[in-house]
């Protein structure tokens, strides 16, 4: 008894004493080994168009566990696309900046591209193999100037509890989608599907039309070539996509008036969905990334939370498409200060673990090869491999995306007919 008491006392005292000690910082990533002096003091700036980039700021903190004296910051640039070239040449030039595939080969962004470092240079030690090959853009010299950090896809937020409440199943085919919309309408839901509709950029029209148009082009390499060249004859390839958009409108799946009440393509879309009376909200994964944080900002959702997922829209009888394209990509300003440390940060960031971690925080689709998806993206895991389309691999250009985006927007709003839109291919701006 006495021995037991002594042992308990000793353990308690030891526990008390050890409780006074400080917690040992956890190793962030056992795989990452600092290559530079960890006491280095410098500043690294990442410039981008996001208002907030918490996921990246979390990575800054993780990187600081290796390099505590490196001050990393994210700065949002006003008028990003136009100002980027000027900023890269200024005294305030960032070390890393958001970049997009469409900048490559675009004369307007030649100065921007000129600042980009070739990330495939083996001397940098970046593990680009952790990224899905379809997301990586290789230029004519087979250089990699952009490293994808998030993947974008198109689909719809589904209120699963509402489907369950109304005794309906999530549609997997076009017919099922039409049927579900009809059922919802009959139950009093004026607009079973909704989305942002005020501007063509990020509008639900594009979200519906772009995957179909891309799928059509993927089946016809000649058509893709024409489309990329903005050949008007390629307008015909838009027809299936535009007809689908029109059918959604004509079948009253979407009430445009209701959609027009959504003032922006991000926060308002999410908050509208969180009202809880929208079975399906059409949007991109970029919008989905803001859902987690806004759950607490929505009084309706806080009051009556529900289960939701982001699913591909079943636009054909065969099911849906998973359009796997880069959302945000990082380029390194090769003329920046502290280039070594900048590359060291990129070496730290472009790893499967860190990209997955960042995608998880941001609630976006990871660009890494293991496609580690957040639970909200679970339905995309069921899309068969043959229906996953990578616009990067196909070589779809930005001008092409503008055509389908504007055409679908105008057709849906009834501003032009499908035939007119087909004819105007190449002239949309």
């Amino acid at each position: 008894m006495k021995k037991l008491l002594c042992i308990i006392l000793l353990i308690c005292t030891f526990a008390l004493l050890t409780a006074c000690g400080e917690k040992t910082p956890e190793a962030v990533d056992e795989g990452f080994k600092p290559a530079l002096d960890t006491e280095t003091e410098c500043k690294i700036t990442v410039a981008g168009s996001y208002d907030n980039f918490e996921a990246l700021e979390a990575e800054f903190d993780r990187f600081n566990e290796f390099y505590p004296n490196v001050q990393l910051s994210y700065v949002k640039l006003d008028d990003y696309s136009n100002m980027l070239g000027t900023v890269l040449g200024s005294n305030d030039k960032p070390n890393i900046f958001f970049s997009y595939t469409w900048m490559i080969g675009n004369d307007q962004y030649k100065t921007v591209v000129d600042h980009m470092e070739d990330l495939s240079d083996s001397a940098l030690g970046l593990d680009l193999s952790c990224i899905r090959p379809g997301l990586i853009n290789h230029d004519a010299q087979d250089r990699v100037m952009l490293a994808p950090v998030f993947s974008r896809t198109y689909g719809m937020l589904v209120n699963n509890d509402l489907f369950e409440k109304e005794g309906l199943s999530i549609p997997a085919t076009w017919t099922e989608l039409m049927k579900v919309c009809e059922e919802f309408r009959s139950k009093g839901y004026s607009s079973p599907m909704m989305g942002y509709s005020l501007k063509s950029s990020s509008s639900f029209m594009n979200t519906v039309a772009y995957p179909l148009f891309t799928a059509t082009l993927s089946e016809n390499p000649d058509a893709l070539s024409k489309a990329n060249k903005l050949d008007p004859s390629a307008g015909e390839y838009m027809r299936p996509a535009l007809e689908t958009v029109e059918k959604l409108m004509q079948n009253n799946c979407i009430d445009l008036n209701e959609c027009d009440k959504i003032e922006d393509n991000y926060t308002k879309v999410i908050l509208r969905f969180f009202e809880g009376d929208v079975p399906m909200m059409i949007c991109t994964a970029d919008t989905v990334s803001g859902t987690k944080k806004r759950e607490s900002q929505s009084e309706a959702f806080t009051k009556t939370p529900f289960n939701y997922t982001f699913a591909p829209i079943p636009l054909t009888e065969e099911g849906s498409y998973f359009i796997d394209s880069p959302s945000i990509e990082f380029s390194v300003n090769k003329d920046c200060d502290n280039l070594d440390m900048t590359n060291e940060f990129m070496r730290f960031l472009i790893t499967k673990d860190e990209l997955n971690q960042m995608a998880s925080v941001k609630r976006l689709v990871t660009p890494t090869s293991d496609l580690s998806l957040d639970s909200v993206y679970a339905p995309f895991g069921q899309v068969p491999a043959e229906r996953i389309i990578s616009p990067e691999e196909l070589g779809i250009t930005d001008q092409l995306t503008v055509q389908i985006r504007v055409a679908a927007f105008q057709v849906a709003r009834g501003e032009i007919t499908i035939d007119e839109a087909v004819k105007k291919y190449g002239s949309f701006e």
């Binding site: 008491l5 000793l10 903190d61 006003d78 900002q297 929505s298």
Partner: protein, 844 residues
């Protein structure tokens, strides 16, 4: 209380103390933290004042420009030229932008085109809403951080509304004047004083929470977005937080992007329209001492050590208490056993005394039977006396009141007494007894003779007692040099061939009331106190006692004492040179005796048998060199001492003086030895002084050498005053002394005794035997009064205490009162006679 409970109570106390320390530390920490937070808030407010002054200064410059432009009806080019001239800051610039087109001119050229000064804010969104720009001088009109469209630098701008002349319409056109400062420059200047709070960072937010100036630790584009990202907050709380931060001064706790708890101080920037200064710092950087944790650690460790120490001490004392309790229980049992034994042991001799007295009374006419009974009664009485003495001694030992009363005494007398006392038992058991004396230079020592005797007698009597008849007991005494100055080391060794002791008994043999349980022991009378008393006395005299024993083979006790040498010693003992023959079969004794004789100045030859001695004596006689004295041991193999004397007398003649040595009482052989031709007797051990005296006496008065032991004529006519209140005691002593022809007078108490002496004439009394405890006046006071008498004879009369107060301190007390000696009751008449003779000799 059980040990477990004691430990639990200890643990509870420790936990209570630790809890107190913890809460006290926590309280102190909270106070310190609160003070630090207040200081942090105050510093933030101070920083707000500094910021405000800075912003006002910058705004004032913009205001001056705006007033000037507005007062001069300038075109936009003229206004820009004016500003360019008055602008001195190298990194700053100014823009004037028309409100309608949001385009205008810059004081500095575009970075990518040195000739291009145009600027457009159409796509930045900064100037879409200009409601935040108040009138000139009314407030600080500062923009949020934005990307300077001219050079791409992140900047802020102090703004004012101006009117510039439009040459095309010839009218004034509304425009916005922006005094643009690079954010990097501002950040370098606008830092929180690090000496105050390291790692504190400032930000400024507008009325919507968007950052105007953003510190590194602040995340997102809006502070409230930042707060919500890392801190749980429902919409209601967020709204409340928004209201609080944008309108009040205070602080709150929040978690930053690294998961660290931080303190955020906020205060409105008074001069601006709804801006708030924020100051964020991790809590760990507050200067709150963490020593309290150390304190708790130290207190914990200290209390634990205390607990372990207390527990160890408690266990130690518990063990000791258990041992003491066991010892006490054993002692109690031993006492109970002892009382039982005592009861038996006292009743046994009492039974003998009472029974034999009854028989004697019945057979009063049968002289022989009465004599036999009285002899047995005497033996039983002596045993009873020993028993009582031992009980008294051990009670004194146990109460710690046993004190030593040192006196000058003769070790020779002590040894003689020892031998004499042991003689009856030795004879009775027919034990081969040897008492050897080694080198003994000093005769008179200074010690408590009574206790020394007790030690020696106890050990010797035990040896004799536990030795079977026919066995052997040897005593060796020798003197060695002592480490103590003025002392000699007296080593007394008694060896026997008795029953021996078991190791178990030897471990406890010095404890009182212990007796070896052995069937043979039960037949031996004893109190079980002798060794305990002996050990205590040896310890008291700073000596050592050692015991070697083997069961069935025998025991050897060795007592070593360092005793002071008395001042009084015998004068040089040297005899005229002559040849002496010493004969003994004991080699050791023989050698010792030769050494002793030679130290007396004699030439000593030795022989180990009577036959050899006769040969040597005859040879000497034939050559005409007879030995001056022959000293013969009585008991020798082949030819004993008496027979040897007889043959010497027959074969050599009567002229050679012969002394017969014996370790035994020679009274039984006295007549035979005298008849054989012995000239005298000397008892073992052969002390130097004893040999000196005997040889002197033999050579001087050979005829008187044999003292008549039963001649008491010298006592005839003595008259002794006996102070004794007890009638029986008076009767006994009176009768006993009467047997020796001594007359007595009685004084019933001390006062009568004093009166008698005061009235006595010189020579009326030879001495006084004084009882101590008497009514009216005790013996001590009576002695003191007698010593104060005027008559010198009366005041110097020898007074001998005769009392039952037999302890050494009683003896000392008597001597200090002025008495000349002490005899303990019950009295031994031999000792009484000896004491009378001693006194008589001293007086003569």
């Amino acid at each position: 209380m059980k040990k477990t409970w004691i430990i639990i109570v200890n643990v509870v106390i420790i936990v209570a103390l630790l809890t107190f320390v913890f809460f006290y530390s926590h309280f102190e920490n909270t106070n310190t933290t609160q003070r630090q937070i207040e200081h942090f808030e105050n510093t933030t407010i101070t920083m707000e004042h500094v910021t405000e002054n800075y912003l006002e200064g910058e705004q004032r410059i913009c205001d001056v420009w705006a007033r000037y432009i507005n007062s001069r009806d300038m075109t936009i080019e003229e206004a820009i030229s004016f500003i360019r001239i008055s602008h001195v800051l190298p990194n700053a610039s100014a823009h004037i932008v028309y409100r309608d087109t949001l385009s205008g001119l810059s004081t500095r050229a575009r970075s990518d085109d040195p000739d291009e000064y145009s600027v457009s804010y159409a796509r930045t969104g900064l100037l879409n809403d200009l409601n935040w720009i108040d009138g000139i001088g009314e407030s600080i009109n500062i923009s949020r951080a934005f990307t300077n469209p001219v050079n791409g630098e992140q900047s802020i701008a102090f703004c004012n509304s101006v009117s510039v002349h439009d040459p095309e319409t010839n009218e004034l056109k509304d425009a916005v004047l922006l005094r643009v400062l690079p954010l990097s420059e501002l950040e370098e200047k606008w830092v929180f004083p690090h000496e105050e709070f390291e790692n504190a960072e400032l930000s400024m937010i507008d009325e919507d929470g968007d950052y105007i100036i953003k510190g590194h630790s602040f995340k997102n584009s809006s502070f409230f977005e930042f707060y919500r990202s890392y801190n749980a907050a429902d919409p209601a709380f967020t709204n409340e937080l928004f209201e609080k931060i944008t309108s009040l001064t205070g602080s709150l706790f929040m978690v930053n992007s690294r998961g660290e708890e931080c303190i955020l101080a906020y205060t409105p920037v008074e001069a601006s329209g709804g801006w708030t200064l924020l100051n964020l710092m991790p809590m760990k950087d507050l200067n709150v001492s963490t020593q309290n944790w150390l304190l708790i650690g130290y207190v914990s460790a200290g209390l634990l050590i205390l607990l372990v120490f207390d527990t160890a001490v408690m266990l130690y004392y518990n063990k000791k208490l258990q041992a003491a309790a066991a010892e006490a229980a054993a002692a109690n049992k031993a006492k109970t056993d002892f009382l039982s034994t005592m009861s038996h042991d006292i009743r046994t001799p009492m039974n003998a005394i009472i029974g034999l007295t009854t028989i004697a009374e019945k057979n009063i006419d049968d002289t022989e039977s009465v004599g036999e009974n009285l002899k047995k009664i005497s033996m039983a009485s002596n045993h009873l006396l020993t028993l009582i003495n031992d009980i008294l001694d051990i009670s004194k030992v146990e109460s710690g009141k046993l004190n030593l009363s040192p006196l000058t005494f003769s070790i020779v007398e002590t040894v003689e007494n020892l031998v004499n006392l042991s003689q009856p038992m030795i004879k009775e058991k027919n034990i081969d007894f040897n008492f050897r004396i080694g080198k003994m230079e000093r005769e008179y020592l200074y010690a408590d003779q009574l206790r020394l005797n007790q030690i020696y007698i106890n050990i010797l009597s035990n040896a004799i007692k536990y030795t079977e008849p026919g066995g052997r007991v040897s005593v060796d005494m020798r003197e060695e040099e002592s480490d103590k100055p003025g002392c000699i080391r007296l080593i007394y060794t008694v060896s026997d061939t008795g029953m021996g002791m078991t190791p178990e008994f030897m471990a406890t043999m010095y404890q009182p009331f212990s007796r070896q349980t052995d069937s043979r022991v039960n037949s031996i009378q004893g109190t079980g106190l002798g060794l305990a008393i002996t050990k205590q006395m040896v310890d008291l005299m700073d000596g050592t006692i050692d015991c070697q024993s083997e069961l069935g083979k025998g025991t050897t006790f060795t007592v070593t004492l360092d005793l002071p040498v008395a001042d009084r010693q015998r004068e040089d003992m040297v005899l005229d040179p002559m040849d002496v023959l010493i004969v003994d079969d004991d080699e050791i004794l023989l050698q010792t005796a030769v050494d002793t004789l030679e130290s007396l100045g004699l030439n000593a030859d030795s022989s180990r048998s009577g036959i050899e001695a006769i040969g040597m004596i005859k040879h000497r006689h034939e050559v005409g060199r007879d030995y001056g004295i022959v000293i013969l041991d009585w008991k020798m193999p082949d030819l004993d001492g008496v027979e040897t004397i007889r043959r010497i007398r027959t074969e050599v003649g009567e002229n050679i003086p012969i002394l017969l040595i014996s370790a035994y009482d020679w009274s039984e052989i006295e007549d035979v030895a005298k008849d054989a031709g012995a000239n005298g007797f000397v008892s073992k051990p052969l002390f130097r002084s004893k040999l000196y005296d005997k040889i002197n006496a033999l050579l001087g008065t050979e005829a008187k050498s044999v003292e008549p032991e039963n001649d008491y004529s010298d006592l005839q006519g003595l008259n002794i005053l006996i102070a004794e209140d007890n009638d029986i005691n008076w009767e006994i002593i009176s009768a006993m002394l009467g047997m020796f022809g001594i007359t007595t007078e009685r004084a019933e108490n001390g006062r009568i005794c004093v009166d008698k002496m005061a009235n006595a004439k010189q020579g009326d009394y030879t001495l006084i035997f004084m009882d101590i405890q008497m009514p009216e006046m005790n013996g001590l006071d009576a002695t003191r009064n007698i010593r104060k008498l005027e008559d010198p004879w009366a005041s110097s009369i020898p007074i001998i205490a005769m009392t039952a107060d037999a302890f050494s301190e009683n003896v000392t007390e008597c001597l200090q009162a002025g008495m000349n000696g002490h005899i303990a009751k019950p009295i031994d008449i031999k000792l009484v006679i000896k004491e009378i003779r001693r006194i008589k000799e001293e007086r003569s």
